[in-house]
């Protein structure tokens, strides 16, 4: 007999990491310059969680996948046109900033409240998926908090693989220090999985899946409720994105050893 899961993936959008980012002072603290005009992508960590969720759902008939996303509605729409081609899921949207300058607790609260509003979600079958970390909110704490708010105490962080047994028990491989894995077994749902990179590659675009998804997801986008992220006591002393440093020098006839040595010296600073 198969196992039915109700998988909720928490995943927001982040500015495309290949773009030039620059923080600026906004009326309520730091913002990303041109955030609304920068192309955005699904947070790569959440992306892994989504593809693992879709794979798990495909292997366990009757399962469903929801993607709960906190982000500006207009940008989410664009990103979802790309993401929805990759895996079947139902989108649930909380409309708010995803610039990375929000408080983790508030973010978790919005996500948890949004999950509570999903019609038809059976929490006894709940697997709460998300990125172990985030490309914008790097604290790695949001998924743990969402899990706590949902009353899910079985939590795994840095997950790379899960295997579901016939009895519904889930074997989880979690990353631990030294490149090793910790193997755990949980009786079954509900559980929280903060995914590392997982094992699945990004699925190819499939316009058919995309079109089916967007028929359901466009209304979700249009009906998105504004997320309240105003109560934060968080303040930023200073903000800066990592700067890439580029020093081009033309040196002719250098040997490979000399080049390697120079790179080592450069890295040592």
């Amino acid at each position: 007999m198969g196992n039915e899961f109700h998988i909720v993936v928490c995943g927001s959008i982040v500015p495309d990491p290949l773009q030039t980012l620059a923080p600026q002072d906004g009326p309520n603290g730091p913002i990303l310059q041109n955030e609304m005009m920068l192309p955005a992508v699904l947070d790569p960590w959440a992306g892994h969680a989504l593809y693992e969720a879709a794979d798990l759902a495909a292997k366990n008939p009757g399962s469903q996948v929801w993607l709960v996303s906190l982000g500006p509605k207009a940008k989410l729409q664009q990103v979802m046109m790309a993401v929805s081609q990759k895996a079947p899921f139902q989108l649930v949207v909380a409309d708010g900033s995803s610039s990375g300058f929000e408080d983790s607790y508030e973010t978790a609260k919005v996500l948890s409240d949004t999950i509570d509003g999903i019609a038809g979600l059976d929490k006894s079958k709940l697997l709460l998926f998300g990125g172990w970390q985030s490309a914008s909110r790097g604290s790695g704490a949001v998924m743990q908090m969402v899990g706590e708010m949902q009353g899910v105490s079985e939590q795994f962080q840095g997950v790379d693989k899960i295997t579901v047994g016939d009895d519904g028990a889930i074997e989880v491989l979690e990353r631990v220090e030294g490149g090793s894995y910790q193997k755990s077994v949980v009786d079954g749902a509900p559980a929280v999985m903060g995914w590392a990179t997982g094992e699945l590659p990004e699925p190819p675009n499939n316009p058919q899946i995309g079109m089916q998804n967007m028929q359901k997801n466009m209304p979700a986008l249009q009906q998105a409720k504004p997320a309240d992220l105003s109560g934060s006591s968080l303040s930023f002393a200073s903000v800066e994105v990592p700067q890439q440093r580029r020093e081009t020098r033309i040196v002719k006839d250098a040997s490979v050893d000399e080049m390697a040595q120079e790179i080592v010296e450069w890295i040592k600073g």
Partner: protein, 613 residues
Amino acid sequence: MSDETPRAEMETDIVCVGFGPAAGGFLTTLTRGLMNEDGTPVAESKAMPGMPPQVICYERADDIGFGVSGVVTKGRAIKASFPDLDLSQIPMAHEVTNEKILFLKDPVGASRRPGLFKLADTVLGKWMEDDAYELPYVPAFLEKHPGMIFSIGQLNQWVGGNLMGTGMAQIWPGSPVAEPLMEGEAVKGVRMVDQGVEKDGTPGAGFMPGMDMKAALTVVADGPVGPVGQHLDRELGLPEGNHQREWAVGMKCVVDLPEDCDWEPGTVLHTIGYPEPEIFGFLYVYPGNVASLGIFVPSWFDSPVRTAYRYMQHWMMHPYLWKRLQGGTMRSWGAKSLQESGKRGEPFLCGDGFARIGEGSGSTNVLTGSGVDEAWATGVQLGESVLELLKDGKAFSKENLEATYVAKRRASWVEEEAKVAEKSRDGFTKGVIPGFMGMGLTGLTKGLINMPGKALKPQDRIPTVEEYYKGYIQEGEIQKIRTECAKNGVSLHDALMDRVGWPEIPLDGTLLVSHQDALLMGGKVQANPGYADHVTFADPDFCKGCREKVCIEACSGQAIYTNPEGGTPLFDREKCVHCGACMWNCSKSNPRDNERTNVKFRGGSGGLHSAEN
């Protein structure tokens, strides 16, 4: 039993290929009119009964904002679509405040200037500031004031965001289209590019044949090198007398100007004369001390080693520009080829089940140097026409599209101005001086008087390296340089430019960076795995015997490179910016179709990844 993966098929009402300014104009106009004021649809979808017509647009790039160009335009059509347009709401957009045309003197002595240019260098010298002569006025036909400057990527993001907000059209990025689905001369939709294939197209693990999207109307807006437009041109030919033989590669970058730069936002510079007399330059200053700048290298620049990147660097270092650019930082970089035959290159604008808009439909005005607004206007014309046909319950037949879309286009300013421009560049087929004279004559007489000339195919124009450098470098020495370059696996152009006196570029790692570093700075290339290479050679044996290998020399991203084993050049799509320069610059004709070259540029995934170009 066959184990072939079945090809999926779906139906929609309207499918649009490519999301650029033309598609932006089309979809903006169409989506505004699909619903009546009482909330009922103007027509019922045939693909999804009970719903308004379903409209889907496919875009090859990974995001809808990855257009490559800084633009100065009068913006008449764009303003008409957005009467309350507030440019401050679009990053990198601004009104044109100051427009200049500059004649640039050759400060290094390496430019191949005809006598008249040398004379101008001397005569105008006393009025020059920093080796540049500012023309006393901008001829009316070139003037963009009052107008606007913007980044096409940012405009596309803004337009796309507006469109998706309506919920009336879907725009799918990362969705390359391979070809139209044709039945005779009718188009029945499009076929997407196969996925899960090796570089040569053979099915690999996870093979998924591209889906067929059937539609009552296919809108072809995929630009000058788009696979659907190219396929139609091959199948249908061009209307009698038309040709697509005039091209240019635009190479540009976006630069953070140094803090003390005195260029005001809205400043527009056009330059002529340097680095080579055939090469034009442009510079647009955005708010925030940022500028888009670069050069156009046209097909009449008869060099077989026409590297645009190094020429752009020499142009930036011209004293007039360098004075204000030095200390700046390159933010992103990119290239695009432009179909500059204009109305002469117009294909069949419509047929049963299809219509063509934008640059690929020949809308670019080659006299005024304007294309984005014209492309937008053609999109609007088609949008209005499609709404009329939907309301009247008429089919998207050739006849009905001609009576609506083509008729609107013929009656519009786009057509009127295109006719004026039609012969404006004929003079360039005889040389750069007759070219400039011809443009001036055409512009000042509104097309009444033109310099005559007959356009040749690019591959018939491009001389051998020996011919081009005759009088500059001895044949024997060229052979020596060629052998040396082949041995080191590098292209010829740097060695030849060095040899004829172009100084070395003093790379500074911020603004003057190596071509390879430019590929990594802001405008990175994204090439998704699982797709076939989109650049191939029609007859690889032809390439083995080719001595010019312009595809290597002209490649904007150094994605086509010397094969260390000799023979057919190699291609690395991780560097390809999809500009198409290889296709129109190749010096060999396709053996099966001599109007085309031996380079095949097909539908492919990815491309340049930058939203601010």
